[in-house]
Symmetry: C2
Subunit: 163 residues, 2 copies
């Protein structure tokens, strides 16, 4: 369940989505191919626990056809710098649909904070677990100058483990 | 702007609310009166920066009269234990409408985390600033046993300073 808040217009968007996360082996050819495409081939040996993400979302902002599903997928490659921080490469970004390099850090209670500078905006995402199988995810979209907040969103996500 | 997620039923609640926060002097009689009523008079000298909070909320879960406003107010008394943690006394709790004593801590990025055990439930609230005048607030309601998540909610809040 995901809620978007458009602060300037005080508009809510309610979204139901399904996200599939699949771990990928480090030696899968698609990883090397992606790194070459974004000119980061030298990072190949530094990647740890890469994974793929797919999503299908139904938004109440699709008045013509509320059951219309928007979907997508991306490849996510973590590059740890130390135990608590590092970089994350994504084939598709959160705020803009292009390759994105983010910085991540873990706070002292385990909250994961991801900051991404896009061409037009800066995104700050946070993920924290509230129980074994429920996590919360918030994201804020700022203007590149950093002072204006364009959008806030929040998702509560229930993990379903497929065997 | 506040969104509630009822996880079991996948129901969204969208709320627009106005919150007024007013600092109160430590020697105001209402503070002592409240402490006596909850048998915590000995805490009187430990209180730092007490304040009052008032809210007026319009929810889309009021189909009969969407403009109906629910409102309330409470007194909030912080009792720091050290620079990063302490207790918070509230005359009205978040999850249950009764006196509540919470534990708070600040994470290493300044995020404020408040945990309250009520009779029937446990609430975890988080507040963090995303710019000078915009903050996010999330809250999770768990069963007292702690494993079931009843509700998640998220608010994006814009500060309006009244002079």
């Amino acid at each position: 369940m995901r809620s978007g808040h458009s602060l300037a217009f005080q508009q809510f968007e309610d979204v139901l989505s399904e996200i599939n996360i699949t771990s990928i082996k480090s030696d899968e050819p698609e990883i090397e191919k992606f790194l070459i495409s974004c000119e980061r081939h030298s990072d190949l040996t530094k990647i740890k626990s890469p994974f793929g993400m797919e999503w299908n979302a139904e938004s109440d902002w699709e008045p013509d056809d509320p059951s219309e599903v928007s979907s997508g997928s991306c490849l996510i490659l973590p590059i740890p710098e130390d135990e608590y921080s590092g970089k994350l490469l994504r084939s598709v970004g959160y705020a803009e649909s292009e390759f994105a390099a983010s910085n991540y850090q873990f706070l002292n209670d385990g909250t994961f904070v991801l900051t991404t500078s896009y061409e037009q905006s800066i995104a700050e995402e946070r993920i924290w677990f509230v129980s074994e199988n429920v996590r919360c995810r918030s994201s804020i979209l700022k203007t590149s100058a950093g002072s204006g907040i364009l959008q806030a969103s929040f998702a509560s996500e229930v993990r379903i483990i497929k065997k």
